[in-house]
Structure formats: structure tokens, C-alpha cells
């Protein structure tokens, strides 16, 4: 009896470790592949040289520059964003007890997009691409601010009598997204062709703009809020029974709801502000984990981080290589691969009566 129990405990660890290795492998492959292909051996040596090992091995200087100033920041950002999308999708699906929830439901992506398009079209000098780094940072900050503001409005409006009403929250989220869509439509109506193009590319997502400077600001926020979300896995398990039931079991449901939504808004807001809209990772990844393994959130949350990061890396590899030297927008790839893959998962779950 005790043997089977301990085996069951090790399943979590085994699966998470496996996914960790998968992510490491994907990272190496991702560092090696691109417009300039660098042998995996060189990648490993360059990385080890960074921490002071293997100094004696000669490495192509160009390879080193490409790797450390272009590919490495991009890939770190991809990992952080993929993980953040994965874990926020998993926690919001758990919190709303609804497997159809996508992170955008809490209004964060609608708010971000509306803020960005408003800036691009009506922002005048602020939105001029010539401004370089400043332009990028302003867009990022505006996207983040817009996303967070929309989420706070949704949270505030669904609050009544000391409780956050989840049904109201979902509906208000839909309404806020509708308002955002209207604002976007209005801005597009007034936009000239250049502005339209800038905005369209922003909505399709772009991981190519990663720099160490951006990462310095974004990485701490993403890492902290992503890891913080995993601490809610036990409460989310209790919440799967229902809000009242979770409260009876000793979960402080009110603060749990608010903190989870806020952390997810941070994750998604920062991700969107860095890379634009990237759909589907947050919806698909938690399902992938639940269908392939089991739905215990103590597995689903950490596994969604690792799996989300790996999947976004794969999508990014495809986006970078399929039309070299150009690049496909990442949102196109995640949608093209993510959606059919998701349908496949649903079909499997349907056959197994898990839906």
C-alpha cells in the first residue's frame, strides 16, 4: 500500500523533471537554429564559457555575438512569456472552474490592445517609430498600463457585498473586451496606412524585439508572478469543488481570487507589452497537461510553465525558420499549430469521456 502511495507522489516529480529536460533540449535547439546556424556543441561551449568554463576552446566570434546579444535574450524572453501564459491560463481555468477560459478573459489583452492602438493613432510624436528604444518602451508601458487598468476595472465592477462574483466577472470581462474592440475599431477608422501596419504587426506578436535592457525590467516581474502563482495550486484544487466548498475547506477564497487575478494580469500584461498578442498558449497548455497526465493543480501549474515555455520555443523556431530570412509573426504560428492541436486534444478527451 505504502509503495503505491509513494509511487504516486513521485509521478509529479517525474513528469515535471521530464518536462524540465524537454525545455532544456528545446532551449539548446532554439539557440542553435536560425538565420545563422550554430552547432549545438558551440552553443554549449559558449554558455559554459559565460560561467568561466572551457576558456581554452576556440569559438567563432560571430557565433558568440549572435548568440549572446540576439538569440539568448530572445530565447529567455520566449521562455518567460511561454511560462507566464501557461501558468496564468492554468490558474484562471482553475479559478473560474471552466476549462474554456483564456487569460484574455479578464480584460487584460483587450485593455492592452486598446491602449496601444490609441497611442499609435492619436499619440502623435510619442508613437513615431524613429524614437527607437524609447518608442518600444513607451508602447510596452502603455500596453501594460492598459491591460492592468482593464483588469482592475473588471475586478472592481464584479465586487459586491464583500465578494467577487465570478459569474459577473466573466460577463464584465466580455463587456470590457467588447468596449476595447470598439475603441480599436474607432482608432483603426482614423488610422493612416502606416499606423494600421504598426498596429497589425503588434497584434500578431513579435518576440524579435527582445533586448537585455527590456529583460532587466520584465524578467523579475515575470519570474516572481509566475512562481507566485504556483503557490496557489492546493487552493485551486479546493476551488475545483466550488467557491463555497473551498471556503468550507479553509481556503480564504476572497483574497485567493483577487491575488490570482492580479498575478495573472501582471503575467499577461508584461508578456503582451513585450511581445504583443500571442494567442492560444494559455488555453491549450493546461489542457495538454490535464489530458496527458492528470488534473491535479499541483502538477498542472508547474507543468504548464515548463510546457508553455517549450511550446512557445517550438513556435518561435518555426516562425524564425520557415520563411528565412524573414520571420512569420509568432501569433500566426501559435494559432495555426495551436488550434488544430487543441481540436485533436478535444477529440481524444471526448473519446475517453473526459469532456
Amino acid at each position: 500500500m505504502n509503495l503505491t502511495i509513494s509511487l504516486r507522489d513521485y509521478r509529479h516529480i517525474a513528469i515535471t523533471t521530464g518536462l524540465g529536460f524537454l525545455l532544456m533540449a528545446m532551449t539548446l535547439v532554439s539557440l542553435a537554429i536560425g538565420a545563422v546556424s550554430i552547432p549545438v556543441f558551440d552553443v554549449a561551449v559558449i554558455l559554459l564559457q559565460k560561467i568561466g568554463l572551457f576558456r581554452f576552446v576556440e569559438i567563432d566570434a560571430m557565433h558568440e555575438v549572435v548568440l549572446s546579444s540576439i538569440r539568448l535574450p530572445r530565447i529567455l524572453m520566449t521562455i518567460l512569456i511561454g511560462g507566464a501564459f501557461g501558468v496564468s491560463g492554468a490558474s484562471l481555468q482553475g479559478l473560474f472552474r471552466n476549462p474554456l477560459v483564456e487569460p484574455s478573459l479578464i480584460g487584460v489583452s483587450g485593455g492592452a490592445a486598446a491602449a496601444v492602438v490609441t497611442l499609435i493613432v492619436f499619440g502623435g510624436a510619442w508613437a513615431l517609430p524613429q524614437a527607437g528604444l524609447l518608442h518600444d518602451s513607451v508602447l510596452s508601458l502603455v500596453a501594460f498600463g492598459g491591460g492592468l487598468a482593464a483588469t482592475l476595472i473588471v475586478l472592481k465592477m464584479s465586487y459586491h457585498n464583500g465578494r467577487t462574483n465570478i459569474a459577473a466577472l466573466i460577463l464584465i470581462g466580455v463587456a470590457v473586451n467588447a468596449i476595447a474592440t470598439a475603441i480599436i475599431g474607432l482608432a483603426i477608422f482614423y488610422a493612416d496606412e502606416n499606423q494600421l501596419r504598426t498596429f497589425t504587426f503588434w497584434t500578431l506578436g513579435d518576440l524579435g524585439s527582445a533586448t537585455w535592457d527590456k529583460l532587466m525590467f520584465a524578467a523579475p516581474v515575470l519570474i516572481v508572478s509566475t512562481i507566485a502563482l504556483t503557490f496557489f495550486s492546493r487552493s485551486l484544487n479546493a476551488l475545483a469543488l466550488g467557491e463555497a466548498e473551498a471556503y468550507h475547506l479553509g481556503v480564504d477564497t476572497e483574497s485567493t481570487k483577487r491575488v490570482i487575478i492580479f498575478l495573472c494580469a501582471l503575467c499577461i500584461g508584461v508578456s503582451i507589452s513585450l511581445a504583443g498578442m500571442i494567442g492560444f498558449i494559455g488555453l491549450v497548455v493546461p489542457h495538454l497537461i490535464r489530458v496527458s497526465f492528470f488534473p491535479d493543480n499541483r502538477l498542472v501549474l508547474p507543468a504548464s510553465i515548463l510546457c508553455g515555455a517549450s511550446l512557445l520555443l517550438v513556435a518561435d523556431i518555426i516562425a524564425r525558420t520557415i520563411v528565412t530570412p524573414a520571420e512569420l509573426p509568432i501569433g500566426v504560428v501559435t494559432g495555426m499549430i495551436g488550434a488544430p492541436f487543441f481540436i485533436g486534444l478535444l477529440m481524444k478527451a471526448k473519446r475517453n469521456n473526459e469532456l
Binding site: A238, A240, H248, G250
Partner: protein
């Protein structure tokens, strides 16, 4: 002791509860009966501290319920709702293990508690089954096991279980199973309060009965003294006759068939 003192609750102009007093003793089974809309569920929610905004006090083991945080409260009282919806394919054992959420016990201790309650509720054979594939009776037995796991250990303070019509969708065998178990766990210094629709079941299992109607307690006390024709007729507005089981002398009721048509039924006590 678990007491509700002068609980009043209204939603806008509609009065749901008026000055309701209930006391629940450890080691006893208390039934709450009454017609639909009498405020039974609201009373239970107020006592579980799920409902807020009422007047009056709920006192648990001598401390006002407002002074408990959710965790501390969950170590003292557990709640079994009418039905629980679960969207994700947890196993039976995982669901029951959720009962140990607030406990700071080791994994091995939790497993032994879970095993005991699985045995008791006769769900041990289902432990690895997907909860979503269970029948209604199996689901409710699993939920009962979860509730028991929450307040299982013997502690210096008494614990309580609140059941909100726990058998409303079950067949009679399953109904008897649930109530028999609830009655048995009273021995562990646990007070049980259950909202029950079937009066015959209430009288069979309960030590105390509270009759409720229109937000008021109409009668309360030990079963022998309050389970009377007058109390039942006043609470339910329905004529009944009380008989006694010839074997164990347990009373049971049969509602009288009205000769008048239901639409024109006018009944005054």
C-alpha cells in the same frame, strides 16, 4: 456547542430569517425540517459563515464565528452541500484528500485518515476512479468521505458537520447509508446538523428537531417531545397522522389525503 443566536436576515424587503435561535450539541444529531422557502438553507449558510450580512451572532465553541479565520473554522466545522459540481477529472481519493486542505498533518497521517473514511463510506473500492464517472450515490458518498476527513481526528474541542439536504437526489438505500453514517460519527464528539425533507427520516435519525416556517423556528426540542401532530401540521400546513412502528416503536407519519381539490384547499390551524 455551536449556536445561532437571534439570527435575522433579509434580502431587500423580503425577510428570510427572523430571530432564529439554534443550538447544536456535540455528539447529537439535529434535524431541521420545514417547507420549501422556510429559510433552512439560509440558516445553514449563516451558521457555516458562508452568508454574511445577517444580524445576530453565531458562536462556535464559545467564540464568535467572526473571530475565526477560514482555516481555523474549517478545522471545527465541515459542510456537505446538496450536490457538488466538479469540472476536472479528479480521482475519488484526490477529492477526499481535499478534506485535509487546512490540516498541518503529514502526508502519511492524511493518507491514513483518508483510508479510514473511505472504508467507512464504502468508497474504498472507488479510490482510483475518475470522480466524473461516478453515479449520484457514489458521488455523494465520496463527498461525505471528504467532509468526514476534514473533521476526523479526535481533538480536545468538539467538531461539527452541517448537511444541506444531503440525500435529495438519491435512492432510499443511499439515503439511509448517508444518514446512518452521519449518525454514527456523532460518537466521535461531532455534532451533526442536517436539513432533511423526509420527516420519517428525520424522526428516525435525529436526537433534536427544529421545525421552521417562514423564517421562524416554530418548534424545537427533543424528538419525543416535539414530533407531534400539531407541530407538523402547523409547520407544513398539511394534515398528517402519526403512527408507531410496531417493532421499534419509532413514530412515522402519513400525510392525509385531502378530499377537497388542491386549488381550493384552505387550511387553518
Amino acid at each position: 456547542m455551536y449556536t445561532a443566536e437571534n439570527i435575522s436576515f433579509r434580502v431587500r424587503d423580503k425577510i428570510i430569517l427572523r430571530d432564529v435561535c439554534v443550538s447544536l450539541m456535540p455528539g447529537t444529531f439535529t434535524a431541521v425540517v420545514g417547507p420549501n422557502g422556510a429559510g433552512k438553507s439560509s440558516l445553514l449558510k449563516a451558521m457555516a459563515h458562508e452568508l454574511t450580512g445577517y444580524h445576530g451572532d453565531v458562536v462556535v465553541n464559545g467564540r464568535n464565528i467572526n473571530t475565526y479565520n477560514p482555516k481555523a473554522l474549517s478545522l471545527v466545522r465541515a459542510v456537505l452541500p446538496q450536490s457538488t459540481s466538479l469540472q476536472f477529472a479528479f480521482t475519488v481519493e484526490q477529492v477526499v484528500m481535499l478534506g485535509r486542505h487546512a490540516h498541518r498533518t503529514t502526508r502519511l497521517e492524511n493518507i491514513s485518515v483518508v483510508e479510514e473514511v473511505l472504508q467507512l463510506t464504502n468508497t474504498i473500492g472507488l479510490r482510483d476512479r475518475n470522480y466524473l464517472t461516478l453515479s449520484g450515490g457514489e458521488k455523494q458518498r465520496t463527498q461525505l468521505a471528504r467532509v468526514l476527513a476534514q473533521v476526523w481526528e479526535e481533538t480536545v474541542y468538539p467538531r461539527y458537520i452541517l448537511l444541506d439536504e444531503p440525500t435529495s437526489s438519491l435512492d432510499i438505500t443511499q439515503q439511509q447509508n448517508i444518514f446512518t453514517l452521519a449518525k454514527r460519527v456523532c460518537e466521535r464528539n461531532i455534532g451533526v446538523m442536517a436539513i432533511i425533507h423526509d420527516l420519517n427520516q428525520a424522526v428516525q435519525f435525529a436526537d433534536h428537531i427544529h421545525f421552521m416556517r417562514e423564517g421562524r423556528i416554530t418548534a424545537a426540542g427533543e424528538v419525543q417531545s416535539v414530533f407531534t401532530k400539531a407541530n407538523i401540521e402547523e409547520t407544513f400546513c398539511c394534515r398528517v397522522n402519526i403512527y408507531h412502528d410496531p417493532c421499534n416503536n419509532c413514530p412515522y407519519i402519513i400525510p392525509e389525503r385531502e378530499l377537497t381539490t388542491v386549488g381550493s384547499l384552505k387550511f387553518k390551524v
